[in-house]
């Protein structure tokens, strides 16, 4: 895993000149080839081949070793110092830009760009209602075990549960949170991640780029997470024809004026008609 090796990046960056390291990294980043291969050690090795530093051998060796247990929280999250966080922010941010199709970079960048004050703000939204508080307290997960597909299958076609099942059938389970340091905020982020599919359903957006963009704009309005806002810039890459079809600003406003999704107990809405859920939360379906 990329993230597993990240801490060691700084270990080496303290032994070699930090500046040279960053410059060399950036130089190689332009070749998006590296990011097809998400093993950071491989990436570094490539850098090494081009710009040899004697200290690198040792580092690559280290980076390939499994992560030391005391660098992990009991729940598997990775302990990072602020320098490590900034390195990941930089590397995963650039990688994600260069190669938006690669989920790992996007996931990592999403986590490290969710600064504490942003997540606290989301958490505070949860703390303002009884439901939000109960979610934070019980920390329910949305997956095949908690939302039994056999049960969802029996629900009417226009129910949220059935639609949810259709969306997640291909086993698109949401990645665990690895890089957020505070355990409660890590859960808040996980909850946001697990809500993503529901946003698709409620805004009637597909999972292609044309569907993903308005979802990101909606999420930015609803959560304020920086990564969702940055992702919106991908709109500029679209052809004029597609640009005209996707109204990002409307989606953003839609997210802004809907109830905060982070505090919604989706588990309790599974049997509801999707249309009623939209009304309850003030969502206007796009398209």
């Amino acid at each position: 895993m990329l993230s597993r090796h990240i801490p060691n990046v700084t270990q080496v960056s303290t032994t070699i000149s930090k500046r040279t390291f960053i410059i060399s990294t950036l130089a190689t980043l332009t070749n998006s080839q590296y990011f097809k291969n998400i093993q950071l050690a491989d990436e570094i090795e490539d850098i090494h081949n081009k710009l040899p530093f004697p200290q690198m051998d040792e580092f690559i060796q280290q980076a390939r070793e499994p992560l030391h247990e005391d660098r992990k929280f009991p729940d598997g999250r990775i302990k990072l110092n602020s320098l490590e966080q900034s390195s990941i922010f930089l590397i995963s941010g650039i990688s994600a830009l260069l190669n938006p199709a690669n989920g790992t970079h996007i996931n990592n960048f999403g986590e490290v760009s969710s600064f504490e004050f942003v997540l606290k703000n989301l958490r505070d939204q949860m703390l303002q209602t009884s439901t939000g508080r109960s979610i934070l307290r019980e920390r329910p997960l949305m997956n095949n075990e908690t939302l039994d597909p056999e049960w969802l299958k029996t629900l009417p076609e226009n129910s949220l549960g059935f639609q949810y099942l259709k969306f997640t059938e291909d086993g698109d389970s949401r990645a665990p949170v690895k890089l957020i340091q505070d355990e409660e905020l890590a859960y808040v982020f996980l909850r946001y991640r697990q809500t993503h599919d529901i946003v698709h359903i409620l805004t009637k957006s597909k999972i292609d780029l044309a569907g993903e963009l308005p979802v990101k704009a909606f999420e930015f309005g609803n959560t304020g997470l920086p990564m969702t806002g940055l992702a919106c810039f991908a709109w500029f890459k679209l052809s004029d024809k597609r640009k005209a079809r996707i109204n990002m600003f409307d989606s953003f406003l839609n997210g802004l004026q809907s109830k905060p999704f982070i505090g919604v107990k989706w588990e309790d809405f599974m049997e509801w008609d999707v249309e009623d859920v939209r009304k309850e939360l003030g969502v206007i379906p796009q398209n």
């Binding site: 505070d124 703390l127 303002q128 209602t129 009884s130 508080r133 409660e184």
Partner: protein, 471 residues
Amino acid sequence: MSLIFKRALATAKSVVPPVKTVDVLIIGGGPAGLTLGASLKNSSITKDLKIELVEGFNLDPVKKFYDETPEHFTNRVVSLTPQTINFLEKTGSWKFIKQDRIQPYDSIVVTEGLSDAKIEFDHHSMATMVENVNIQSSLYQRIKELEQESELKSEDFGLNLRDNTRVEQITKDETNQWPVVHLSTGEQIKTRLLVGADGFNSPVRKFSGIESRGWFYNRFGVVATLKLEFPVFKYAGWQRFLPTGPIALLPLPDDNATLVWSQTVENSEMLTKIDSEIFINLINAAFVLEDVDMQFYYKQLNKGETEGLIEDIQWRINHATQKYSDEQLEENFPLKVVSIEENSRARFPLKLSHADSYVSERIALVGDAAHTTHPLAGQGLNMGQMDVQSLVGAIEKGMQRGLDIGNPLVLEPYWADRYPENHLLLGVVDKLHKLYSIRSEPIVALRSFGLKAVNSMSLLKDFMIGKVSGK
């Protein structure tokens, strides 16, 4: 005066009773009024003055306190500065304080609800917690002692204390313009000097026409007597500035503590009514949790929704404190409150007021009659004690010069001495209250920075302790 005589007076109001004449008439048997009476009788210069003290309420609890001390702590407790105690020692009343009911403390830990800023003031015996009634009782005992020592008959001692008697009206004598006070018993007392120690609504101040300026804070102080989970090891005061107002938990002996919690009108009313178990949990929460949690609890409680609230509070407290070691917990938070003295909850409106002057022809104001302040710095009663000390000094000087003690020339030095100091303190406390009512993030950041900076400057801190403890 016998009861029968009083009744006879009451029924025979139409018969104009004889007007008694005294040198000093003190209205108010609160801490300020009793201290003034005792100090005037304690001074070799003023001890022969003929003094009358009138109190509207029943002083029985004060009179009985010394011999029939109640088991439980009362809910009106104040923090006395070393300066006040020093003055009470000189007056000779401090020895009558029930020492097992007071609690000196050596530090106060001040934190705030919107950031992790913290400031700690350390000073050996920086202040002492004493029940109001204990102070009043000690003064009453001292007055009794002085009377015995004088070996005069009680009518001749020259300090007559009457309670259950209200001032109904104040007029001026037609011939010499002395104040004449009309009492609820129908009696009238004419006086050379009228002292208003009659609290915030001071009838004496109103009569004198002295303007008082100020405002209500739109906050109430909720008080209660509490028990902590263990007897305290290191006696400290705890104060946390929440956006709704500061909460303070101050030590009493052993595992007892007293609460002063400034709150919005709505919350204060709710706090005096809610189930005591929830109340206790809320106090513990207020020292640990964030504003968002507290706001949620207030909202629920004001709606009357209490289901699952205690579990919720305990979950949040555990969550917020789990990252601390026992040692850190002890350093950062007060001991847990585990129970509350029954019927000890009460609330008082908080206000700022300051009279334009403390004196005029034959009139002087002391204590809350002259000024009231937010209790966040615990200074109200202490200021009144210093007033009394200064006024007694002024009267002594006047008498030594052979002047009429009702003469403004005698009284004005008192005002000149006390007004600037009180004004400064009122202003600082007022600004503090306002500064900490602000939620705006840049201001929170600035004031936290300020607090942390001050915390690291021991010289400045010592200066501040010196200012508030009068050292």
